[in-house]
Amino acid sequence: MPAKGAGLSQLLLKPKIPTLRGVAAEGVVRVLRGRRVLDGLDLQVPFAGRVGIVGRSGAGKSTLLSLLAGLDEPDAGRISVAGTSAPHDRLAFCALMPQRDCLLPWRSALDNAGLALENAGLPRREARRRAAPLFERLGLAGSERLLPAKLSGGMRQRVAFLRTLLADKPVMLLDEPFGALDAITRAELQQWLSDALAVEPRTVLLVTHDVEEALLLCERVLVLAEGRIAAEFHVNVPHDGPRRAVVTNPAFVHLREQALEAIE
């Protein structure tokens, strides 16, 4: 396993290196079980940009995130994250929030949130001290000491997101973060995520099969089909205001219809 924590902890504890370049992929090909899951994919995400990637299941969305994160290597093409392309460095710059919340059942909510800080070498007390204010700020106060089994699906997902946020990496890769939630909790969490990202801006790649979610949370939405970017939409509809007003805005509806058409 090439993962090595030492270099990262230095990164985390010293002032952050300015990362002017975001995420780029050029001609990326990945063959899995004989199938070209990604087939010459090109992608550009500027620093602090927020890009949504939508597509049918099996379109290669999760594969793309694994590749960007440095957990996997492309068969052809180039990937660079914050200007580096070695897999180990990509791993250092990307935080991946998986589809399942992947909370550790033996750690309290607060200790799950501070996991990355402890992994980077901070003592548990210090990790807690840093995670606690975010609990307050992001509506999780009171659940700090609960084990994940005691949390609702929505709460677990929030903790998982906080954990990803606290990894303090310039790039956040979110893989269907709300896929397992019911519609109401999902809408609530989309709003919450949008607020959280306003507080802590990051370069975000959001993979989802929910077009509306992508349009609500991102500035740009890419449609992934047959292993490459099939269409691209700039979301020039105002995001603020009540959710219902946004999603019923004719411009938004038009965009959604176009995106859905591109997926099919």
Binding site: L71, C94, R100, A116, E118, N119, R163, A167, L173
Partner: protein, 254 residues
């Protein structure tokens, strides 16, 4: 324990019934005590030989406790080494299985020759009998960590050691405890084997001495104590699991 004492009633009632039948049958058939003592004779032996049995119990308890701790320590150490080295795992795991085909009964006299008549050979016998289920379960438990959790750790600054200590080891605890519970039931037998191969004290020694004297009630008394010791060790391990693995929904065992 969460369900109260309710679930203890069925086995206790069955046991009490069996002991009652045993008492009635032995008395009705006038079976002599040296052939098959009635429960009441065993109880009176427990009372009559109290001080003898008490000191023997202390000796055997020490062998069981220390031998078991030795087994746990060795088993966990081996499991961790095997977990980190694929090559060693492939080389050593089959040999560990092979080692279990050697009858411990035969190992005990050899150990007595090697290590003398003190406590050392007993500890080794207990450890040899107990370590295997712990090693096997621990190795399996460590290897069965959820690969998604491992990926998640890698993207969160998690190095190899962090993954081991924060994901693999806690995740393996239920499996390790399964092995430890099985091992707990072997420990008393191991101690008796050790004592039979050469000793001057302990419950196994008491049994050896009572046999030529046809003091069958005393043998039964020693066996009852040995069972109680094994049961106590099992209960202690189960309790430790409850404390150390609080995230388990509900331990499915008694």
């Amino acid at each position: 324990m969460r369900q109260g004492l309710g679930r203890w009633w069925p086995p206790l009632a069955l046991l009490a019934g069996a002991v009652g039948v045993w008492e009635v049958v032995v008395r009705a058939a006038h079976v002599p005590d040296y052939l098959f003592p009635a429960p009441s004779s065993v109880v009176s032996s427990l009372h009559r030989d109290g001080s003898l049995l008490a000191s023997a119990t202390l000796v055997t308890l020490r062998e069981i406790a220390l031998g078991y701790l030795l087994a746990v320590a060795i088993a966990l150490a081996i499991a961790v080494v095997l977990h980190f080295s694929e090559a060693l795992r492939r080389a050593l795991l089959p040999l560990l299985v092979l080692s279990q085909t050697v009858p411990t009964v035969l190992l005990a006299p050899i150990l007595a020759i090697l290590l003398g008549y003190g406590i050392a050979p007993k500890l080794v016998v207990v450890a040899v009998v107990c370590f295997f289920p712990i090693v096997v379960n621990a190795v399996d438990g460590l290897r069965s960590a959820d690969p998604e959790l491992v990926r998640m750790m890698r993207t969160l600054h998690g190095g190899r050691l962090a993954i081991f200590h924060r994901v693999e080891l806690p995740g393996a605890l239920p499996a390790i405890f399964s092995g430890a519970r099985i091992a707990a039931t072997y420990a008393a037998v191991g101690a008796v084997f050790g004592e039979w191969a050469g000793s001057s004290s302990g419950l196994g020694f008491v049994i050896l001495q009572a046999q030529p004297a046809l003091d069958t009630a005393r043998i039964f008394a020693a066996v009852v104590i040995l069972s109680a010791l094994a049961l106590a060790l099992y209960a202690l391990v189960t309790l430790a699991e409850r404390v150390l693995v609080p995230w388990q929904p509900e331990a499915p065992h008694a």
